[in-house]
Symmetry: C2
Subunit: 332 residues, 2 copies
């Protein structure tokens, strides 16, 4: 039986404890808004990548926790700002930060978490991480933050274009989604003092895993169960997102279906019937099967790369592989 | 004759060069939006504080430049997000970032600069700064970012209350404005490897100077010349800001004037006549003279503290004092 769910819970509790210990201050309202999504749940996937990468590179779990908390907090900050941009109203089963506190506070709450991500990482020094290792980890954290912002911009720009190519999609996803997964792994590796060769292999593995994860996310946005997901389905269509499903569909269907789909994409006040009709066009042309196949290919590549890393902590390597498999088979 | 204007220009050019060398990437649109205010001008006061503090603590100018660029970029990020929150349309004589690119891109552009602030500082390693010094400077930069966010929140919360006390105002200003000035000085001091005793004195000096600076800003927001300022006057009233002028006025005028002023404060669609009438109530009750006096007291305290720091670089200490004097006498 898989040890992953139990280990994930164990790490989540350590990371959460570290977050609550670090992210605190006044005014209370700002901290309530900032920690809203942390309290609401979440999978804590990225912290798990950080901890397992650190272990694979010979470091221990506790050394990785500040880095794991840092990347989770960075991720949470991007969710708060993304939700404003996407005008989403639900996340992790709770109303979004801007719905509850208004956009002004949501902007500031995101900024607050962004700064606290660096603060979490700085605290690795208290656990005996070397200054040089912490600075290398900082470089990865900063790079992730920058590249995510570039990816969010590409995402916005793509949704304003009529068509997008798979290559444009992959570039966007690599930046918007995979960069945080890459950062998660490299922060763990840096804190363990891993050599550049291992970092490069982890980078390539997490790039592939991150793309597979996003493709799965695109599919769940079409076929997922809202109650399990904790966020609305079909909102990608309303927001005009160029998901891999949309790009594939636009490239294979006839002109009439293409026009129909384009007329709904990005239509903020689209009715549920219009959204369902658009979803039907996507489902019936084989886009889901296509996307599934691509996701499997990326996941396979990630698994091979992880498998090629030599380590004394075989258990950590196995758990990291299981995690990648979960990323493309998850239902939430 | 004062050497300050010439030295300020010299440092601004070094800092700008460093910024343009560091803050670059794609998509182009994101970088255009992010660098919009940097290109539009600005006083580069905070970089000057960083460089002069570094010199006072025995470090050299070039060692301080990455830290100076970091704090300027952090400041610029807060301006982009502040302008969205305050719905301002003009800054440094140009349309605000969200007016030109929309709020979505403006949010992301601010986030991008926030991350680049840390990247700028990290590059101090290339100039021979010790890892431990860079990590101490990081701590100050992170602290500034967090405290500014707390201050922005207090600013919003105060503007939603009918009255505020001077103490509440001072707490808000210390967090919203002074914290970046404090961070500017402490980053410079850290990069120079200054002892904690000197850091504490700089912290107190910059806290006082920052409060004086903000009081001057409040006054310019009432009496300033739009063309010189590069941003609209009287918008503080429209936004309902609890400036020191408003707080003083509400505490001294009769009930009728108080009601009149409160009816305009925070009224987004207030006419220019209503704003002028409110401004007249403030001017005629002696609020400006009161605020001027308080600003002078804080500036005096800052000057005394700076003067008490022993240094071999007497020129830098004189320039830092001149800078504080400029901060409360400036017309823009």
């Amino acid at each position: 039986m898989s040890k992953l769910p139990e280990y994930a819970k164990h790490i989540a509790s350590k990371v959460d404890e570290f977050i609550y210990e670090t992210v605190k201050g006044s005014p209370e309202l700002l901290y309530n808004a900032s920690l809203h999504y942390v309290k609401a749940g979440g999978k804590r996937l990225r912290p798990l990548i950080t901890v397992l990468s650190c272990r694979v590179c010979g470091g221990n779990e506790d050394l990785a926790v500040p880095g794991a908390a840092a990347i989770e907090i960075l991720h949470t900050f991007t969710l708060i700002h993304d939700d404003i941009i996407d005008r989403d109203e639900l996340r992790r089963g709770v109303p979004t930060v801007h719905k509850l506190w208004g956009e002004d506070i949501a902007i500031i709450a995101g900024d607050t978490l962004h700064a606290y991500a660096y603060k979490c990482l700085l605290r690795a020094l208290e656990r005996g991480a070397k200054p040089e290792s912490v600075l290398r980890a900082f470089n990865h954290l900063i790079e992730s933050a920058i590249v995510v912002a570039e990816g969010q911009t590409l995402d916005l720009l793509l949704s304003r274009k009529e068509t997008a190519s798979i290559d444009e999609y992959l570039e966007m996803v690599e930046k918007k989604t995979a960069s945080l997964m890459i950062g998660s792994a490299l922060i763990g590796a840096s804190l363990a003092g891993a050599p550049p060769e291992i970092e490069n292999r982890l980078r390539e593995a997490m790039k592939a895993a991150g793309i597979a994860f996003q493709i799965r996310d695109d599919i769940l946005g079409l076929l997922g169960d809202e109650k399990v997901l904790g966020k609305p389905v079909l909102s990608d269509l309303r927001e005009g997102k160029r998901t891999i499903l949309v790009i594939y569909t636009l490239s294979v269907v006839d002109e009439m279906k293409k026009r129909k789909l384009l007329s709904v994409l990005g239509k903020r006040d689209a009715s549920i019937d219009e959204l369902r009709e658009a979803a039907e066009i996507i489902k019936s042309c084989g886009a889901v099967e296509y996307a599934d196949k691509i996701a499997e290919e990326y996941a396979k590549k990630a698994l091979e790369l992880i498998n090629s890393i030599e380590t004394r902590d075989l258990e950590a390597r196995e758990l990291l592989k299981e995690l990648v498999q979960f990323m493309i088979r998850r239902r939430y």
